[in-house]
């Protein structure tokens, strides 16, 4: 995290670097108490808490208790982009914004942070990293190389997103919505999707070849089966999950191989 994180806001409340580090580490566990009623709510309270200790009266004061109660209510968003919410909500509380305004802002954040994060991370960046690792595997990469490529690539993006979110949230407070309109967030999923599609195509035959191993002569037949199976699953898009069909197919194969 950069030193610029430890900056004062227009209203003057400073969040020291140590407090920001505590918030950042807690953000890694923001989903620790995820449940079907308050979803991420308790996690938001847990992450904002170190900053709230700086409210007048400290952790024993009424402002601290009221703010912690407010921040531990229902909340939902993409887990990585909760950093934006945590930073912005901490800033709003420290700046003494009206509780009703903070609550309205909190509610308004849920949708955009969920939608942007899901498209950017789950539907684009994670598959991109998976296909990159599979490509390296298919090209003969060692165990260490493959997992390092995956983990370094993925977590460079993952941690950068959390750091950026916390920084921008603490800086902009209730004005953080502007940051979510950043062109990078808008166009990145599309660009990553294009790259991931190309990587998926390249990784598939190479990974298949390495999994099949010495039976390379079977590769042609396997590719035909993959195309037929893939087309079938594409037609069933949204109605059935492929991995569940795979359980059926593999169970059938295991029974065939053992009982025939």
């Amino acid at each position: 995290m950069s030193a610029s994180l430890s900056s004062a806001t227009p209203s003057g409340a400073v969040v020291p670097l140590g407090t920001q580090l505590a918030m950042f580490v807690r953000l890694l566990a923001v989903q620790g108490a995820w449940n079907y009623e308050t979803l991420l709510g308790n996690g938001i309270g847990f992450c904002v808490e170190p900053a709230l200790r700086r409210l007048p009266g400290g952790p024993e004061g009424e402002p601290y208790r009221a703010a912690l109660a407010r921040q531990s209510q229902y909340f939902n968003a993409h887990p990585y982009l909760t950093a934006v919410a945590v930073g912005a909500l901490a800033r709003a509380e420290l700046d003494g914004e009206a509780p009703a305004r903070i609550e309205r802002f909190r509610t308004a954040l849920c949708g955009p942070l969920g939608a942007v994060g899901d498209r950017l991370v789950w539907a684009s960046f994670l598959p991109l990293c998976s296909f990159t690792a599979l490509l390296v595997f298919g090209l003969g990469g060692s165990a260490l190389t493959v997992i390092l490529v995956f983990l370094v690539l993925y977590n460079a993006g993952h941690l950068a997103l959390r750091v950026w979110g916390l920084r921008i949230g603490l800086r902009d407070g209730l004005g953080v919505a502007r940051a979510l309109g950043h062109p990078a967030l808008k166009h990145m999923p599309m660009r990553l999707g294009r790259l991931a599609a190309a990587l998926a195509g390249a990784a598939l035959p190479l990974a298949l070849q390495r999994v099949i191993g010495p039976g390379r002569v079977l590769l042609g037949g396997v590719l035909v089966a993959v195309i037929v199976g893939g087309l079938l699953l594409s037609r069933l898009h949204g109605r059935v999950e492929g991995w569940k069909l795979a359980i059926l197919a593999l169970t059938g194969f295991v029974l065939y191989a053992t009982l025939r």
């Binding site: 887990p79 599609a197 195509g201 298949l208 999994v211 079977l218 037949g221 199976g229 594409s234 991995w243």
Partner: protein
């Protein structure tokens, strides 16, 4: 596989299960990582990688979107890799049975995550008044309780999976007929078909998807021929 091995693998499964959602969600729980780590623990990282990469082809389809139920790959990949390494003396059925076992444990793991979320809700409901009063102890306590329960969930799932499936796998591969390469080909084809369907599901709305994907396939096939 000794009891000590199972206990240490259960701990690894707990840690990787925790990564799936609760902490730190750094994707250590992805099969390609979790399988390799479990294989490395048993002294067979390349076998762990092979199993992990095969499972990753399935896992591309299942992304951890919010409240949806999805397979838990962290703990299950530890079970699968341990089974695969343990069955290395009987290669014909080793990959197919290990992958099938992983998919089943991943499915059960998804169910255990739902139960954990219900348990977290129960705890939160019981302490609602304290949270509404802004009790730091309760807010932090709920978070730590959830994290601990998730760690235990993954460890128990991994240990139970190994206890139940290791003997079963030994019986199945003892009666296995057919060639190893055919078995691997069936598993690979199934996994890749799921990946192909997933790629379409994820990217079909991306402009130029078909061209990008086709170019990629052409490059991949050329590399297979050349290398």
């Amino acid at each position: 596989m000794s009891l000590a091995d199972i206990l240490v693998l259960a701990l690894l499964g707990g840690v990787l299960g925790l990564d799936t959602v609760s902490f730190p969600q750094a994707m250590l729980s992805r099969p390609i990582v979790a399988g390799t780590l479990a294989g490395a623990f048993l002294g067979a990282a390349p076998m762990g990688l092979l199993l992990g990469a095969t499972l990753e082809l399935f896992a591309v389809e299942t992304l951890p979107f919010g409240a949806s139920r999805y397979p838990e790959w962290g703990s299950s990949s530890v079970v699968g890799a341990a089974l695969y390494v343990g069955a290395s003396s009987a290669p014909p059925g080793a990959l197919a049975t290990s992958v099938l076992a992983t998919l089943l444990v991943a499915w059960i793991g998804g169910w255990t995550m739902v139960q954990l979320r219900k348990l977290n809700a129960h705890w939160a409901r019981q302490r609602h008044d304290a949270v509404a009063r802004g009790s730091r102890r309760v807010v932090v306590g709920l978070q730590l309780a959830g994290l601990t329960a998730d760690l235990l969930r993954g460890a128990v799932l991994t240990g139970a999976g190994l206890f139940a499936l290791h003997p079963l796998q030994q019986i199945v591969i003892g009666t296995w007929t057919g060639r190893a390469e055919l078995s691997r080909a069936v598993v690979a084809a199934t996994a890749a078909a799921v990946t192909l369907g997933a790629a379409y599901k994820l990217f079909h709305a991306v402009p130029g998807f078909h061209w990008q994907f086709t170019l990629g396939i052409a490059a991949g096939l050329a590399a297979v021929v050349i290398l």
